[in-house]
């Protein structure tokens, strides 16, 4: 009876009232692993649990196989630390983590992105990592990445891989219709304008009748960075104010961009029914060769999607077009590792040793980066791939701006974004009206979160 309610209640029942991970007391971590150097092994056998999203490409089509190989290599150096791997999915993993945290069964280590990690850090659920980051490593990683890895003056995420979120184009479609010149691939920075983008969409609509020109999605939160950056660039706006204190995307130009998307849907330049499509739905269509542009892509996703392609085609990364053809503002994907403070110093020390291995081992450090398909966050680590698209991804790092994931109340802000998009796609509001309503709710969420943190 009422299975979900029972699940909520069982979750609550399994936890004690105020015993969340962050509330457990722990002394200063004893082990101080250092970047790039051999970590001090824990004295006694320790068992840690690592929950991992599919951040690394599957080996032989088996999700988690690469991670197992990595753990085996780690155990050759640190036989005293047993790492229990549990693979979680991007769909259900976040919910599973919330339940685990609330029921005091959070994993020891997680490889994730700032969107969730910073939220946990602000809630005091994570162990600080500052003592495992020597100065040479700290200065080798740009400040923009540290901003996304720290809460106040404490580092709660060890940043490892990155890639700017961009668009992707099915280059083969444009080759077939003889319209490759409409894409900005001959420009080194590939920067292009909204008008050029519209011309490319129109060409697909007219000449490639079995291909949908472009996509949009607003069913749920996943992949929302794609829709955010798309509208912000088409409308020459920023999502948040520079000091992250309020929403800034509710400009006339961004509103007009959103109105254009709604109209383009009717004009068959954008996929129909986008209000009910999720990011994964439209990416599936892209991988099936059924749409020309995806608005949610990156070098990391390119690598993750390589085994999921259902059609033979060549894709190319592109920056989001801007209203006036100026330089785009791209949100970065950033991946890194964090440690839940489960109140056990030995586990925290062992987890740091493991993170140090994943990020800095002389063999597995680079191997791991390549397996994620991402670039290194370290300025000194470049040229990992012999591939044109990765070279461009590295170049496009210059367009990266501060992402909204570090804003206070980000988890709640996200919940207001896609209903705002839906209301425009369904003709309930104009773009400006929807963005204003979104800004009002999101600003309240930011203020509430700031008040709670005080």
């Amino acid at each position: 009876m009422l299975m979900t309610i029972l699940l909520v209640m069982l979750t609550a029942a399994c936890s004690s009232n105020n015993n969340a991970p962050g509330n457990k007391t722990t002394s200063e971590p004893q082990n101080t692993a250092s970047g790039g150097s051999e970590a001090t092994p824990a004295a006694k056998p320790v068992e840690i649990t690592w929950w991992n999203f599919p951040n690394f490409q599957a080996l032989d089509g088996e999700v988690g196989k690469y991670e197992k190989e990595m753990i085996a290599a780690f155990n050759q150096k640190h036989p005293e630390i047993k790492v229990n791997l549990e693979m979680i999915t991007f769909d259900g993993g976040p919910e599973k983590l919330n339940v685990a945290i609330a029921s005091n069964s959070a994993p020891d280590v997680i490889y994730d992105a700032p969107g969730r990690i910073i939220d946990w850090g602000k809630k005091g659920l994570l162990a600080p990592l500052d003592d495992m980051i020597p100065q040479d490593v700290r200065s080798d990683i740009p400040d923009a990445f540290w901003k996304q890895s720290m809460v106040g003056d404490k580092t709660v995420m060890y940043p490892i891989n990155t890639a700017p979120f961009m668009m992707a184009v099915n280059k083969t479609v444009f080759e077939k219709i003889g319209a490759l010149d409409l894409l900005p691939l001959d420009r080194k920075d590939r920067v292009w304008s909204f008008d050029e983008y519209k011309a490319a969409l129109q060409a697909v609509k007219e000449k490639a009748l079995d291909v949908i020109p472009s996509v949009f999605f607003a069913k749920s939160q996943a992949g929302d960075q794609g829709t955010r950056a798309y509208i912000a660039n088409l409308g020459l706006s920023s999502f948040l104010k520079d000091d992250l204190s309020a929403i800034a995307i509710n400009t006339d130009q961004a509103g007009a961009a959103l109105d254009w998307i709604a109209q383009a849907q009717k004009d068959k330049l954008v996929i129909s029914g986008s209000a009910a499509l999720a990011a994964s739905d439209v990416n599936d269509l892209f991988l099936q060769g059924k749409v020309a542009f995806s608005i949610n892509y990156s070098a990391v996703l390119k690598a993750q999607n390589s085994t999921l392609k259902k059609a033979e085609f060549e894709e190319a990364l592109l920056p989001f077009p801007t209203l006036d053809g100026s330089a785009p503002k791209l949100e970065p994907y950033l991946g890194g590792m964090a440690i839940f403070n489960n109140g056990d110093d030995a586990k925290i020390a062992a987890a740091k040793t493991f993170i140090d291995f994943v990020a800095n081992d002389e063999v597995y450090g680079k191997k791991n980066l390549i397996q994620t398909g991402g670039l290194s966050v370290r300025n000194s680590v470049t040229g990992l791939y012999d591939d044109e698209e990765y070279a461009y991804s590295e170049l496009a790092r210059q367009f990266i701006t501060a992402p909204p994931t570090i804003a206070d109340g980000y988890a709640e802000i996200r919940t207001y974004w896609f209903p705002a998009l839906q209301s425009v796609l369904l003709g309930q509001q104009t773009g400006k009206e929807a963005l204003d309503s979104f800004a009002k709710s999101a600003d309240e969420a930011i203020a509430k979160a700031k008040a709670q943190l005080k």
């Binding site: 009422l2 979900t4 029972l6 209640m9």
Partner: protein
């Protein structure tokens, strides 16, 4: 005399003990996995309970819910789904059962199997099939309607159709058990009653109203109550097909519970939503027993 009385008492005690020992496994399971979580849920619904907070706030979660437009919309959607789905399931099940129960055993088994198939299939598999049927760009439903000159519709993305698209899936997945039960119940109605009515020149409508329907009342009560409870808990289909959208047009209370608890980590609010839903289901079930139970003929 005294010895006999003592023996009799000891026997009674043993019987009492044995009966409770037999009950114990089920009772323990009930207390641990039903009663305790329910009580605990009622308790935490009085707290501001998130990933790192546990603070007593009295009835504020409940008060907030009554001001929460999304929750009110979800409750309205849920009630609308129940109001449409339950009568549709009953009517369709009786129609199908009435059509097939006089057929040969082979035909009856075939149709029962066909209609029961969704009940034993995974909701996820069924929903994936429906998602492809409803797909606005490549779905078979739009293909069929286009043969009649209709424009493609985003069935799950249009405010006018999304909720009804969900209800259609819900109805098709809910009729299996009622059909099995109605076929069995119809088979138990003595044919002599119907034959006597036919001799008296009763019309098929009169036979249904005056004989079949009253004889089905015990089955009706069970099916109405169970279908109502199940429909109030609509969750998986909504989560997989629409995630409550567009614009909360298909959001249900159970989906809201999931969203608040597992996506936002607001366990106190989710528990309050669950308690309110339990109260609504309890009241409606009581009403159903009160008004339908009195007509039951055993």
């Amino acid at each position: 005399m005294l010895l006999t009385a003592l023996k009799s008492k000891r026997l009674l005690w043993r019987e009492w003990l044995a009966s409770y020992l037999f009950l114990l496994p089920a009772l323990a399971f009930f207390l641990l996995f039903v009663a305790y979580p329910m009580l605990r849920g009622a308790y935490i619904s009085l707290f501001d309970y998130s990933l790192n907070r546990f603070e007593f706030i009295g009835l504020r979660n409940y008060a907030d819910l009554f001001r929460d437009k999304t929750f009110l919309k979800s409750m309205k959607n849920t009630i609308l789904i129940v109001l449409i789905t339950v009568p549709a399931v009953i009517a369709f099940s009786i129609f199908v059962s009435n059509t097939i129960y006089r057929k040969s055993e082979l035909a009856r088994s075939f149709f029962r199997g066909v209609f029961y198939l969704p009940a034993v299939s995974s909701v996820v598999s069924i929903t994936v099939v429906w998602a492809s049927i409803y797909d606005p760009n490549y779905g078979i439903l739009n293909y069929v309607t286009s043969l009649f000159g209709a424009e493609p519709i985003a069935w799950l993305g249009d405010l006018r159709t999304a909720l009804f698209a969900i209800i259609a899936v819900l109805v098709t997945t809910s009729v299996g058990q009622p059909i099995i039960l109605y076929v069995a119940a119809l088979g138990n109605i003595p044919t002599s009653y119907i034959e006597a009515a036919q001799i008296d020149r009763a019309t098929p409508g009169q036979i249904f109203r005056k004989i079949i329907w009253p004889m089905l009342m015990p089955t009706n009560l069970y099916i109405i109550v169970i279908t109502t409870i199940n429909t109030f808990q609509t969750f998986a289909i909504v989560q997989l097909l629409t995630a409550g959208g567009p614009l909360n047009a298909t959001s249900t209370v159970m989906y809201g519970v999931y969203e608040k608890a597992f996506m936002l980590g607001s366990f106190g609010v989710a528990a309050a939503m669950g308690m309110l839903l339990a109260v609504v289901i309890g009241i409606i079930s009581l009403i159903q027993f009160k008004f339908l139970g009195s007509d039951v003929e055993y």
